[in-house]
Amino acid sequence: MVLKGLMTSDAAADRVVPPSGYTARLTMFSAATMAFLAVFALALSLSAGRVAQEWGEALARSSTLRISAAPEELSAQTAAALRVLETTPGVEEARPLSAEEQQALLEPWFGPDLPVDTLPMPQLIDIVETPEGYDSDGLRLRLSAEVPGAVLDDHTRWRRPLVAAASRLRLLGWVSIGLIAAATGAMITLAANAALAANAKVITVLRLVGATDAYIAGAFVRRFTLRTLGGAALGTALAIGAILVLPDAGEAGGFLAGIGFQGWHWILPLVVPPLAALVALYATQAAAQRVLKELT
């Protein structure tokens, strides 16, 4: 009902309140800024959520078995470990890393010229779990009996705080969006109050010629809602543009590389302008009702 009144823009009703370019520009600027911030908070929130989920899944489903032994025992122990892993429920795949792969892992630290074959290197076995996962305590127990040089690194020790941090970041993002919405409401309320006070005479005259509260409030509500919608649309467009041209941080960027929207999430920032307009509508409506009551 309110929205319908908004759409059937009444040119005469919009003219009864004198235009004020200054307030209009300030309202639009604030709405644009808030929308810009909201879109970034949204991107941050969604990215943090995505990262939390990806890290959670990827880390949870892969673990590493490290076998340290004298070079002559290494292959026997590796074979024993693989036998154990093959019969462990919850292990989908167990694969010993080749010498090249191990060298690639070490390269960032020691450079490409490391003579891996001449060093006493542990053998690494990459374990991929089934979605159900395996019982890591049980596996450790069996390994310690059959493969004395094996150490199971199941990442859980450092996975949890990372995922927790990403989840917290996501929560903070949503809290920010809530605060931005509240601040937008407060700002529109201030602007609407100022406009209503500045137009006390207009309101008096409108009352004298038979205008109802709804008509008078509508003239202000329409104006502030449309201004906010326009400003928020601008801010949203700028924020989306800024996200689109974010330099690609690449694989090494980790979390940074993930900031932005993916797939259907691109629809979410488009909800920001109408949501801002809705906040403005209710804020102005409330302000108008209060002022009209005082101006009896």
Partner: protein, 225 residues
């Protein structure tokens, strides 16, 4: 249509009006006189619900104003045309838009009404000033515009506060003519004025009752006018 019963009013100090009873029946014509500051404008404001009586009852179209909310009072004003002493225009709207304001706020902005507006502008001699802004008008032009706005909704009652205060004799006769004609069409007219010659001129055309505020009370003025 508008009834005042033992109405008293005070702006906070002593009582300005005491024990006022007045009924404005359909198609009647009234004048309200009294010295400056006697409370003529105040009485008119009571008659259109802009002020609430501090004593007694005011009824607009059979409803007690003290029991009407803001919207109800506003809506009842669509049936009461008021020429305010200080005109009450919106300075950022043109004269034509100001005159059409009652139509706009009541959602009656049709083509029919537009034609009506043009005719009305001609009537009050403001056709050439339709697009001017109110501050650009002379005192007399403002009052003519105010009268046009008061009658545009073809209200049942017209309350005019000094409608001829700033116009010359000829124009005041034209305005009176318009009000007399409206009265013949069945409208109720109440004019607050100091201008005794206006009252005399009106009495030659219609049966008018002359009321006078004196010592806070309303009296029927003598026939010596």
């Amino acid at each position: 249509m508008i009834e005042l019963e033992n109405v008293a009013y005070s702006y906070g100090g002593g009582e300005l009006l005491t024990d006022i009873s007045l009924g404005l029946a359909p198609a009647t014509f009234h004048f309200l006189t009294g010295p400056s500051g006697a409370g003529k404008s105040t009485l008119l404001k009571l008659c259109y619900g802009a002020l609430r009586p501090t004593g007694g009852h005011v009824r607009l179209f059979d409803r007690d104003v003290t029991q009407m909310d803001r919207d109800a009072v506003a809506i009842s004003r669509r049936r009461i045309g008021v020429v305010h002493q200080d005109c009450q225009f919106l300075d950022h709207l043109s004269v034509a838009e100001n005159i059409a304001l009652p139509l706009a706020v009541s959602g009656q902005d049709s083509a029919d009404e537009r034609a009506n507006l043009r005719e009305l502008l001609g009537w009050v001699g403001l056709t050439g000033r339709a697009d001017a802004l109110p501050p650009e008008l002379s005192g007399g032009e403002r009052q003519r515009a105010a009268l046009a706005r008061a009658v545009i909704m073809s209200p049942d009652v017209i309350l005019a506060d000094e409608p001829t205060g700033n116009v010359d004799w000829e124009m005041s006769q034209r305005l009176l003519q318009l009000l007399v004609e409206l009265n013949r069409m069945g409208k109720t007219i109440l004019i607050a004025t100091h201008d005794l010659s206006l009252i005399r001129a009106a009495k030659q055309q219609v049966q008018a009752r002359v009321l006078r505020i004196s010592k806070r009370r309303l009296q029927l003025a003598g026939t010596d006018l």
